[in-house]
Symmetry: none
Subunit: 204 residues, 4 copies
DNA sequence: TATGAATGAGGCTTCATTCAT
DNA sequence: AATGAATGAAGCCTCATTCAT
C-alpha cells in the first residue's frame, strides 16, 4: 500500500513526465498548463499545488533532467570511458531523434531556443545542464590527455563545447529537414574532427 | 508623393520587417499578431488584408529572407570566393549575434526550433532556405575542389552541411549561455576542421 | 457594345444574384459583404457604391425577388388558373428544395426567420412580398368562389394564408430533417384540406 | 448553503437559460458567446469551462429543451389526452408567441432555420426534438384510432407531421408579419383539417 | 466606374492563475 | 491530497464600413 507521501510524489512526477514529453514535442510556449493537466489526468488544483506556475514546472522538468544526467539514469549516457563511448553518446541522440520520426530536436535545445530576456531562470537552468554535460565530456578528454593520448594543441574544454554545439546543430537541422542524413553527416564530421586531436591520428 | 503601387506595399513591408525582428527576438510563438500590429502601427484589418493568417505572415517573412539570401542583399554574404570569405561568413553571424547582446540566435534556427508537426508549410520554407544556403556554400567548396585544392576525401555537400549545422549549434549555445565564447570556439573548431580538407594542410 | 450604364447595372445585378444565392444557402447573418464581394468577383468599393450597406443589399435582393414575383418571371409561378396550378405551385417549391438536396428552405422564410427587432426595414420588405404572394393566391380562390366552385364556408384570404404558412412550415421541416418526406406529406395534406372547400368535394 | 454539486451546475444552468432566451429572441448567429457571458454575469473562462464551444452551448440548450419536452416540464404540454388538449397544444404556442409581442417564432424553428451544411450536429439535435414531439402527437392519434375514432384514411404519422409543420409555418409567418392573425388562421385551419379525420365529422 | 487600402469593433477561443470546497 | 469553479487578459481572426486614388 502506498504511503500518503508517495501518492502525492507520484502525481507530481506524472505531471513532470508528461510535461517533459510535451515540451520536447512542441516546445514550452505551445504547451499550456491545461494540456499538461489533461494529458496527466490531474486537476487544476493539483497542478498549482505542486508547481508555483508554468515557469515553476519548466524548472522542475529541467531539474529532473539534470538529476538524470548527473546520476547516469538518463537515456543518453554522459560518462564516457572510451572513444567508443563518445561515438555512442553522439549516436544515442541521433537514435532518439529517429525514434520520434525526426520530428523533435534535443529537449534542451528546444527549450533553450524559446528562452527570451524574460525567462532568465529557465535560461540559467539550461546553462547549468549544459555546464554539467560539458564537464562530463571534458572529464573524458582530460583523462585522455592525462594519459598522453591527445596532441598538445588539444583543449579539453573546447572539445567538450564543440561536442555539445555539434550535436545541437545536428539535431536542429535534423528536425528542420525531417531527415537523419544531416545529423549523421554532422556527427561523423564532428567525430572525425575530434579524433584529429588524438596522438597518432593520421592528421596529427 | 507615393505611387499607387507603393501605398499598400509599404504597409505590407513594414509589417513584415517588424514581424521578422520580433520573430528573431522572441520566436514566432511568443509573437502575437496584435503585437506585430501595434509595433508596425497598423490596424487589425490591414494585417489580415495582407496576410491570410499568422502562418501566412511567417511564410512571407521567410520569403523575404530567402529573396535576400538569393539576391545577396542579406546582412550575411553567402557567395564565397575564398577561405577568407568563409571565415567572414561564420564571423558575420557571430557579430550579428553579439550586436544583440547574445540574446538572439539565428533567425532561421529560432523559427525552425519552434516547428511542430502542424507547421509543415513553415518547415518546408525553412528547408528551402537552408537548401539555398547549402548550395551557395557547396558552390565554393566545389570550386575549390575543381581547382585541386581539396583532398580526395573531401565531400563538398557534407562540408556545406557541416558549416550550417556548426553555425546553428554555435548560435543556439551562444543564446543559451548568453556568451560569445562557445560560439567562437565552435566557429574556430569548425574552420579548423574544414581547413583540414585543404590539400597541403598539415593534417592532410 | 455595352453602354456605360449597362456595365454598372450588370455588376450591380451580379452582386444581387450572388447575394441572393448566399442568403438562401446560409442566411443573411452568415453572409458577409466580403463573401459576396469575393463570390461576385467585385471590389469593396463597388459594393458600397451600389449598396448603402449590407442591409441595403438585403433590401435590394428582396426587391428583385418581389419584382420577379410580380412580373411572373420567378421560378415559382404565382398566377394560378386552376387547381392543377395550385398543386404545381406547391410542388415547384418542393422540387426547388430537392434540387438543393434538402439543404435549403424557402428563401423568404430563411431571411424572415433571422429578422429581429432591429431589422424593421427588412421585415417590412418580407411582409410586402408575402402580401403580394397572398393576394395572387387569393385571386385564384376568389375567382373560384365567384364561379360558385367554393363552399360557402370558404374564406379566400384565409385559404391563401393557409397556403403560405403550410409551404413555409413544410420547407422548414424539410430543411431540418433533410428529407422531402415531411414536405410532401404537408403539401398533400394542405391540398386535401383546401380541396375540402370545393363544392361537390366528398367532404362538403 | 449550496451543495457541492450545485455550485457549478447553477452557473452552467444560468448560462444555458440565458442562452436559450437569446437564441429564441435573436437566433444563434446573432448571439455571441460574449453576449451570453455578459447577460449571465459570468466570466469568459467559465463559459468555455462548461461548454466546449458555442456549438457545444447550442447543443446543451437543445438538450435541456429536449429533456423538458420528454419530462413534460416544458411550457407547452406534449402529452395529449383529448382533442381539447390538441387545441391547447396549438394555442399554447400561439399564446407564447403573443407574450413576446409576436417578435419571436418557435425556438426550434428559429434555430433550425439557421442551420447550414456545417451545423450537422445541431441539425441532428433538432431532428431528434421534432422526432420526440412527433411521436408524442402520434401517440394521441394512435390512441384515437385504436378506439375507432378516426376514419380509415387517417394516417397518424402524417397527422403528427402535419401538426408540426403547420405550427412551424404559422409561427414563422406570425413573426414575419408581427401579427397573430395568420397564426390563428393557420391553427384553426389545421385543426379543422385534422378534425376531418374523426369518425362522424361532417366531412367524413 | 472601379480598386483596394485603411479602420476599429467585435467574434470565438485559449491562457495562466486563483479560489472555494 | 485533490477537485474543479471562477477570473480576466490575451490570442487569432472576421466584420462592416470608409477613404484615397
Amino acid at each position: 500500500m502506498r504511503t500518503r507521501f508517495a501518492r502525492g510524489a507520484e502525481t507530481r512526477l506524472r505531471i513532470i513526465r508528461v510535461a517533459a514529453d510535451l515540451f520536447h514535442k512542441q516546445g514550452v510556449r505551445a504547451t499550456s498548463p491545461d494540456e499538461v493537466i489533461e494529458a496527466s489526468r490531474t486537476g487544476k488544483g493539483q497542478f498549482y499545488h505542486y508547481f508555483r506556475s508554468k515557469e515553476g514546472l519548466i524548472h522542475e522538468v529541467l531539474q529532473v533532467h539534470l538529476e538524470a544526467i548527473k546520476s547516469g539514469t538518463a537515456l543518453v549516457k554522459y560518462e564516457l570511458g572510451s572513444w567508443m563511448d563518445l561515438e555512442r553518446w553522439f549516436f544515442a541522440q541521433v537514435e532518439l531523434q529517429k525514434s520520434f520520426g525526426m520530428t523533435r530536436g534535443c529537449p534542451f535545445g528546444t527549450i533553450g531556443n524559446e528562452v527570451t530576456e524574460n525567462d532568465e531562470l529557465i535560461r540559467q537552468d539550461l546553462s547549468l545542464i549544459f555546464e554539467v554535460v560539458k564537464s562530463k565530456l571534458a572529464v573524458f578528454f582530460i583523462r585522455e590527455e592525462s594519459q598522453g593520448r591527445l596532441v598538445r594543441a588539444a583543449d579539453e574544454n573546447r572539445m567538450a563545447d564543440f561536442c555539445i554545439a555539434a550535436i545541437q546543430g545536428a539535431m536542429l537541422m535534423g528536425k528542420i529537414t525531417r531527415s537523419s542524413q544531416v545529423v549523421e553527416t554532422m556527427v561523423r564530421e564532428a567525430l572525425a574532427h575530434l579524433k584529429g586531436y588524438r596522438t597518432g591520428s593520421k592528421k596529427a
